[in-house]
């Protein structure tokens, strides 16, 4: 499990835990937050926040995964994500948003990009993936995030736009580097994630 602080724990498989994982849900729509809670409450401990300040107050070392809206009045989800990372919380984060992804996502420190609208199955699947990758080696996690961003952008942008993008080129380069570095770690991964990662390479 992730500890707060600068360093992730050394690579080790995620230990089986008795107590449920904690998920923090952040969205400015009250009803959306309530529904996420409804969908997740059976399997997880859920904390909610409907604004940036409340989210900053809610994040702590007990949080195992975050579902984060991007566009909120006041502190945006993008800014919140920065603040989480600056203060040392590096638990996995999924952006759950109505905003179309642009090349700016390349430099954003999240692990998944989920487009609204989502239903209960989508939300539970996103949280499952976040918690699963949390147990992996740091470079595997980064590879996963990089591959996610690449897939997100490839679904959104035209071939020409991708070819013209410096960010996208950087993303592909980083993916190749990480791929070399993590080969020996692949055995640790869940077969479903392995399959996804390699399909996307």
């Amino acid at each position: 499990m992730t500890e707060g602080g600068e360093e992730r724990p050394p690579p080790e498989p995620r230990p089986d835990r008795e107590d449920p994982a904690t998920v923090l849900v952040v969205d400015d729509e009250e009803r959306v937050v309530e529904a996420f809670e409804l969908w997740l409450a059976e399997d997880y401990r859920v904390e909610t926040a409907t604004g940036g300040e409340a989210a900053l107050a809610a994040i702590d070392e007990s949080v195992d995964a975050v579902l984060l809206d991007r566009q909120m009045p006041g502190l945006s989800g993008d800014e919140l994500l920065e603040r989480f990372r600056e203060t040392g919380y590096d638990c996995p984060v999924a952006m759950v948003t109505g905003k179309d992804p642009d090349f700016d996502i390349v430099d954003m420190p999240f692990d998944e990009y989920v487009s609204k609208p989502v239903d209960g199955d989508d939300v539970r699947a996103a949280v499952d993936r976040l918690l699963r990758i949390d147990g992996y080696d740091r470079r595997l996690n980064e590879l996963y995030a990089v591959a996610q961003k690449r897939a997100t952008l490839e679904a959104e942008k035209s071939g020409d736009e991708l070819a013209d993008s410096e960010e996208y080129a950087r993303l592909r380069e980083r993916q190749a580097e990480l791929r070399m570095a993590v080969d020996e770690r692949v055995a640790e991964m869940d077969p479903a994630d392995v399959e996804w990662l390699f399909r996307s390479l």
Binding site: E29, R31, V32, E34, A35, L38, K116, P117, G120
Partner: protein, 352 residues
């Protein structure tokens, strides 16, 4: 050609036709009166022939061009390249450019550049090697192409906004359904609100899509009468419209101008609320302004107001002022926003 008119009704043999077409007069007429400009140069790039159409395309009489260098109808930046490539071709037979249907700008007598599609031919005349260019003015095609590109950009921008704007209320609707199923009956009210919101968005989008068209017939429009009509639909229940001085007559598609006014008025009512006073007045006799006594523009960048989907109102769609911009631009006008001297917002439509 003219002389052959008398015989046009009579039957003619193929041989007759052949002979007539081979006649010099036929070709002269074809070349002289064709809509493409044709210019022939010798090896030194001196113009030895130009047809009548050069006057329409370049602004010179053919007689004025004959004897001049071809560079007389070329923008300065191509002069060096032109002489170099002609020299290289004469020496080596190597062509710098494809000679068929290439795009190059020429320089009109008055200095403006004319986009041309050019096809070059090489032939022999009086024992000398000469070159002819058949040049078609493609200004209109270019303009049409630019319009289409702009329209495409607009559509793309548009599609992005639509999908994005609908996603959030869709998410709320989905959440509300789940909550209602779980026993929270009050969530149904939020479901209804989300559905209303999507309904508004769709209306706004449809209206905006219609405004994307070019303007129809324009005519002198009595702005004061039209403003009064627009106010009846858009604002009369919530406030007062005051006309400042004499409003100019503007040349417009009155249906579209009415839509523009309605959207400006609605914007004022939405932001200033009940009891708003909206003023409309002349802008140097060449346009008009609409100002209100509401909270004014608190955003740092007034241009953002006209972006698709941008709104600061609680339940605004962000399409109203986009419609205003689109209608104004379709007429060739400009529109700007500023704070008014009375503290509210002021929108200026400049019809110059």
């Amino acid at each position: 050609m003219e002389r052959s008119e008398s015989s046009s009704e009579r039957e003619v043999s193929t041989a007759d036709l052949e002979a007539r077409i081979r006649g010099t007069e036929f070709f002269r007429s074809l070349v002289e009166n064709g809509s493409d400009a044709i210019v022939t140069i010798d090896k030194e790039s001196t113009i030895i022939y130009a047809n009548r159409s050069v006057e329409r395309v370049f602004g010179y009489d053919p007689e004025e061009l004959i004897g001049k260098k071809l560079t007389a109808i070329m923008p300065d930046r191509f002069h060096g390249d032109h002489f170099a490539s002609v020299r290289r071709y004469l020496e080596t037979g190597e062509r710098e450019l494809d000679w068929n249907d290439i795009y190059l700008p020429a320089e009109h007598r008055d200095g403006h550049e004319v986009p041309l599609s050019i096809t070059f031919e090489e032939h022999v005349y009086g024992g000398d090697q000469v070159f002819s260019g058949i040049m078609r003015d493609i200004t209109e095609q270019r303009e049409r192409q630019r319009r289409l590109e702009r329209q495409n950009e607009r559509l793309e921008e548009f599609a992005g906004v639509v999908s994005h704007d609908l996603r959030n209320p869709l998410q709320t609707a989905r959440a509300a359904v789940a909550l209602a199923r779980a026993g929270d009956e009050e969530a149904l009210a939020d479901l209804e609100a989300a559905l209303d919101r999507m309904d508004d968005l769709i209306d706004g989008v449809l209206s905006l899509a219609k405004q994307g068209r070019a303007v129809g017939e324009t005519e002198p429009v009595d702005l004061e009468a039209l403003a009064a009509e627009a106010w009846t639909t858009a604002g009369s229940e919530s406030g007062t419209l005051t006309v400042r001085g004499t409003l100019p007559t503007v040349t417009a598609d009155s249906e579209r101008l009415r839509t523009l006014l309605e959207n400006l008025f609605r914007n004022s009512v939405e932001h200033a609320g009940e009891g708003v006073t909206v003023r409309i007045g002349s802008l140097d006799g060449e346009g008009f302004y609409v100002a209100d006594d509401g909270p004014g523009i608190d955003d740092g960048d007034p241009d953002r107001l006209f972006e698709y989907g941008y709104t600061t109102a609680e339940d605004g769609t962000g399409y109203g002022l986009s419609i205003v911009r689109d209608v104004a631009e379709a007429h060739g006008w400009t529109v700007a926003a500023a704070d008014s001297e009375h503290g509210g917002a002021r929108f200026e439509v400049d019809a110059r």
